[in-house]
Symmetry: D2
């Protein structure tokens, strides 16, 4: 099961060490009041709708980040993997997100016309800037809190005593990120980070990578905070 | 006098039209409570210190934006101008800023060790992203609210009935941006924007450029707001 | 029929004007001795094999150029189109190319291990550099001689009195680029260039765009020349 | 003396290892017939003039590479150093080069109007692409054959039995690169590469860095070859 494999990877390798050393910053993100309110089903619906709209705008920038990763590829295998990740966002995740948002009364046209919140700009452009100013490893580390963190958030909520899924309007959201498909994406991201880290000297660059990871985690935390 | 020439340029050309069409967003930035409190000398000193620290971190990213402009240059003249702007920030403006901050009890080492605020990240990385995803014109439009806006802010404060310079701890800040040296920088930025706009099809691209200008202005407004 | 629609577009719009103004440089590329020898079936097989290997390396960089286009996209529709173009190269065109090369006795591993020729480096990195230093329009103009030119080359060969397809070892290559699938790609590229040109001020930027187009055409010509 | 310190650095550290492992490719570059003909004073003047014009165009792209390095800087010290290197090219090296070329009957206007040769495009855009697709270390490694190699070329010529400086029209060129000012630049580049390599994991990335170094060296060799 995805969540078991996933859990086993949280304390090892490059991601595990970054996560551990991010310490409080990581927990502030993973166990944010927005997250816990999602689990308890107590989050005001207006807050969730605001989150969904910004998440739509966020995903466009995230797809750009994978396009950047593809551009920065050194060989066909890397290019193919990054291209597939970009396509997965644009052709699979976004249509699913749009369909899900429609269920919440949000049309794509309205979402597209909404200005990006400062929090959306801050995290997404930080990630893209790490990618253009650094290399693939800098980019992957900046992406990790989002890609991998969402899987941990969903698993945490599934195991949390205060979570209730029955009658919880956010249950589908939780189940999606706790589901095998997304868990597999997160596991692949952990493994990919490990490989890129090995190939591109993560050990020697660790202090710098940790700064990127902590800054990205803090900006993700602000993204939760924005909707409260 | 710089401020007279500057004022004459506020209603014409590409910058004048962007400024006019930004409407309320522009006024919210130029006449922000933080700005007016600087003029009246009523801004809490802690707010100003917080602003100075983030402005230090901001300037580093701004120098990177001019380095990006130099990289994107199509000929030696453009390269030289962008390089000179970058050097002016790094070798003139930053030492002046550091000396000024020292007078406020802030050491460079402390400022360098302070994490960037989300507002600093949001505006600076937005500018850099417009520069890497677009061309020189997109970059220059994203830079304009800061470079040109500070000259307008200082002139507005000098002329404002509620401004008092005697005994105002922020008088030196106001005088610096109202002074002939900075006014000349702002006038050159207006003229440079006009030239780049003509060479790179600003008319046909206007709706997109206005979106960039308004978004950058709103992020600058958040930068003032941050310190309150 | 693709080639008729294609031919009708060669004298109009942004591409038509660039092609016309490139003059001799365009004809030197389209009617290059390498091309004519392909049509006549007289090209030495060693030259064709050398070309195929470099074309494999070329396609990897071309996929990177479309990844860059995706990264530079301003909205989801642009992102999707550029992403689809990148995926088409990586997941369709490259496997076809690899299969075709296998028929010529060239394994993918061997091709991947071959160093890029200077001509391959020059054209591909020129295109990528136009894309990073400029905007989407600069990038699309730099890509045009290749994407659109190959369709014109194939149509020219099909209509050329000296071409013979019977028993020509290069007939499949000619038929592929003259076929409806590739002609549709080229027509879409012409139309896309027209749209991007309108949105991003091509008229005002024309002298600069023509310089890019001519330089890219000359580098493509060198790419043919390389294998002779 | 610069050349003694320089020589002592050729066999150690990251640069020394790259140079050693580049093997024949390095020697083909450093002891190229163009170089030896410069030393012997037997190079046709037309070849030298062609070289000077392309070197002018080359330097513009090299300044862009340092602007890119400045953009990619992670702190103020790096930014300042890269900015100073860019300024040194634009404000010192280029005026000297232009003055020197004038002595050879070449006006700046004529040089600026000359199209870049394919060899110029290939090397400069390869370097810039390593910089945008990789990080500062990838960029610095791609720049190294040029920046450091020219100092080695000049020292080699000064020590070479076939070199004659009396009455050699190229003596000033040799003396310039053998002189203390340029030797200091080259030594600083070796030291900078060492520092960047240590900070960004050169050991783990060595095979990839060597590929970049060898490719850049081969493209520099083509640059000599071009003028013959």
């Amino acid at each position: 099961m995805g969540d078991v494999i996933f859990a086993a990877k949280l304390d090892h390798g490059l991601f595990g060490i970054l996560r551990r050393d991010a310490g409080e910053a990581w927990h502030a993100y993973i166990e944010h009041p927005f997250v816990l309110a999602l689990g308890a089903g107590t989050l005001p619906e207006a807050a969730f709708r605001a989150y969904l709209v910004q998440d739509y705008l966020f995903l466009i920038q995230f797809a750009r980040a994978y396009a950047l990763a593809a551009y920065k590829s050194g060989n066909l295998a890397e290019l193919r993997a990054a291209g597939a990740a970009m396509t997965a966002i644009v052709d699979v995740e976004m249509p699913l997100h749009i369909a899900y948002c429609r269920g919440w009364g949000l049309s794509e046209a309205d979402m597209e016309a909404t200005p990006e919140a400062m929090q959306t700009v801050a995290y997404t452009r930080f990630v893209l800037d790490r990618g253009t100013s650094g290399d693939r490893l800098d980019l992957d580390v900046a992406l990790a809190p989002c890609v991998i963190g969402y899987a941990e958030v969903a698993n945490l909520l599934k195991a949390h005593p205060a979570t209730k899924l029955d009658g919880n309007p956010y249950a589908a959201w939780i189940e999606m990120y706790a589901g095998p498909e997304y868990q597999t994406v997160a596991i692949a991201a952990i493994d990919g980070l490990e490989r890129t880290g090995a190939a591109r000297g993560a050990n020697a660059r660790y202090p710098d990578l940790l700064r990127t990871f902590v800054a990205a985690t803090a900006l993700e935390t602000e993204f939760w905070q924005m909707s409260l």
